[in-house]
């Protein structure tokens, strides 16, 4: 009996030491194409209701964290990568496990095991060193860079001191980005057109139609981050050995000839396949405070990264046996930015980003050098019940632009109503540049969110 009592007390003490928190939200949003969205004008480009739930349970120095979503998509735009979401065949419902991990912290060591989202780098909404997490690439309307990140299944071992942190990651299973494979997705016909110039294109229909890395130890990913935080600056170094999250596309002509010799082709189509390639990255960043300003710097070097070759080169320049879907080139990315928080509740952020491929060749789909500037201005008024955010990106090569204006009004502490306008414009003379290809997705979105 005594033993039982002692056990009960011990159990009670354990239960008392445990603290569990639930955070939930329900978001409903609908977006419609603006008059400049061409064939998408007046069409719904977004229609989602999302229940998001997070459970955090603390037990002494340990924590369990689970975040998942149930999504209803009125457009049937949901698709999966076989890992991050379970999706109905028609793309209307999705069950997503965004994060689920165990976290433990000792005196100087810490361990996190399970699905987790990691943010690297000092850039805002621009991917430079932030390469660990793949993204959900199924939506560009009112999309949020951070919300689009997908959890990776990883083990993270950390060495912690007061001013430094070293994180080592082992990512046994590769998680690719989610592609807009659902037929109902407005991006689908843009990314995967069924025909071009009358030629049929046979794209993969499911995520596993692409050539994914095998689930073997040798196919694991590894990553390392070392950071220090001082009064002068926050500094980080990064290293990554893994897989590029987007597939490289191979185009194969599929010609069917008539019966007999020297008979003309009776049908011509293109079969499209995709494969994922290894990627290496070393990078560094810094955040330097100076009065009302914080200067941010970030750079990354990708040695011998695989770059997509363009469709014409693949089809007409090479024979079937030597047709490369990609070519390996060195890439350098850099960012310089500043945050300015003058008095009065203003936040102003500006960034310049440069992206160059060394020893570029004309077979590559992308330009040798791309650069852009971004500007974001945010102001909260009425005791932070109304927030106005304006942001934009200017492609400095072709002068295409992406801009967004968002108004968030807090109806109550729990309910926020948002109006979001997205505008994508081509550069002069119809140059697509970085953002012109999204011109059909200029839209206005209404969103309601309740947090509980």
């Amino acid at each position: 009996m005594k033993r039982f009592t002692a056990l009960s007390l011990a159990l009670a003490a354990t239960i008392c030491a445990q603290e569990t928190v639930f955070l939930g939200s329900l978001t409903s949003q609908a977006g419609v194409g603006l008059p400049n969205a061409h064939h998408n004008k007046g069409d719904f480009l977004l229609g989602q209701t999302i229940f998001d739930g997070t459970i955090k349970s603390y037990l002494d120095e340990a924590m369990v964290y689970v975040n998942g979503q149930i999504v209803h998509d009125a457009l049937g735009a949901q698709s999966t990568n076989g890992s991050s979401a379970f999706v109905a065949d028609d793309g209307t419902y999705a069950l997503k496990l965004r994060e689920a991990y165990i976290d433990w912290k000792g005196e100087m060591l810490a361990l996190r095991i399970g699905r987790q989202i990691v943010s690297w780098g000092k850039a805002d909404d621009i991917q430079i060193t932030d390469v660990l997490n793949p993204r959900d690439e199924t939506n560009v309307v009112a999309s949020d860079y951070n919300e689009s990140k997908l959890g990776i299944d990883a083990v993270r071992l950390s060495l912690l001191t007061e001013k430094t942190q070293v994180d080592a990651y082992w990512i046994p299973f590769f998680t690719p980005s989610i592609l807009p494979l659902a037929k109902g997705n407005p991006l689908h016909s843009r990314v995967f057109p069924e025909e071009v110039d009358g030629i049929g294109i046979n794209y993969p229909e499911k995520y596993d139609d692409f050539e994914l890395p095998e689930k073997r130890l040798s196919k694991s990913e590894l990553a390392l981050r070392a950071s220090t935080y001082t009064s002068v600056a926050d500094l980080s170094l990064y290293g990554f050995y893994g897989w590029d999250d987007l597939p490289l596309i191979r185009y194969n002509p599929n010609i069917v000839f008539g019966d007999g010799e020297d008979m003309p082709a009776t049908s011509y189509s293109i079969d499209v396949t995709g494969e994922y390639k290894r990627m290496y990255m070393i990078g560094a960043d810094a955040a330097i405070p100076a009065g009302d300003f914080v200067f941010r710097l970030e750079g990354a070097y990708f040695p011998k990264r695989h770059f997509q070759t363009d469709v014409n080169s693949q089809l007409f320049k090479y024979s079937e046996d030597s047709r490369p879907a990609s070519k390996r080139k060195n890439q350098v990315l850099g960012l310089a930015g500043l945050d300015w928080t003058p008095s009065g509740g203003w936040t102003i952020t500006a960034q310049y980003v440069a992206d160059g491929v060394i020893d570029h060749d004309s077979d590559l789909e992308r330009k040798q050098f791309e650069h852009q500037a971004t500007l974001s201005i945010e102001k909260s008024i009425l005791n932070e019940t109304l927030t106005i955010m304006a942001s934009g990106a200017l492609d400095l090569w072709d002068f295409s632009t992406a801009s967004e204006l968002e108004l968030d009004y807090k109806l109550t502490d729990a309910i926020t109503l948002s109006l979001i306008g997205d505008l994508y414009l081509e550069g002069p003379d119809g140059k697509e540049g970085l953002y012109g290809e999204y011109r059909d997705f200029s839209s206005v979105t209404f969103k309601g969110k309740m947090s509980f």
Binding site: L23, Y58, K105, V294, D413
Partner: protein
Amino acid sequence: MKNLFIKVLGTSLLYAATTFAQSANEIAKKVHDLPSGKTSSGTISVTLIDKNGKTRNREIASYTMKDGTTDKTVLVFKTPRDVAGISYLTYDYPDKADGSTVDSDSWIYLPAMKKVRRVSGSSKDDDFQGTDFTYDDLGTRSLSKDNFAILGEEKVNGIDCWILEAKAKDPKAKVSRRVSWVNKKTYVVHKGEYFDKQNRLQKTLVAEDIQQVNGYWTSLKMTMTNVQTNHKTVYEIKNLKYDEKVNESYFTVSALEREQVK
């Protein structure tokens, strides 16, 4: 951002000092230097009341620690739910020997971004999270920023107080003048008036529920009213503990990023 539990202490030594005539600077320094324990923890409850009486509430877990001459503060939002988990870490440093101020080191963790961001540590006259308090109102504003004068003496709720004026040296300061009613015995601020750039009364402060907690005088409830907008903020401190063990690892950037601070 220094200790957000407003320090309103008087000790026996300070009590003895009241028997001597004191200059405005000496009084200001004693109010500024009121001790508040090596550590503190508690929950800050903030109620915002607009001119129509509509209320909004925030609850924030707060931990502070003195590390040598550095004051370290961690704040974690608990409610409203849409900002739950947003955390701030601030290291405040004492003024330099020449009286000039040293910018704080500040970081913010945004759960939606899964990222800690370095933020500017220089703006202290901005509103604290949409309330009628500024960071300066809630911390210990550097003495070097103001010129002090005693405007007179007056009783507040039967307590003898000095009327202490702090006039901002910076002509561009959002608050040009602060007038505080300072308890002659304890150096507690019992009420205050804040004037805008045009020297018009902008805000009034009323301190209530002044208690000794673990031997330290603390104002457990303060109401700041913006008389120009009729917006009001009630700031209350609950479960306040001084000098009890606080997990030192909470005051690190990695603790913010790991969402370790409860």
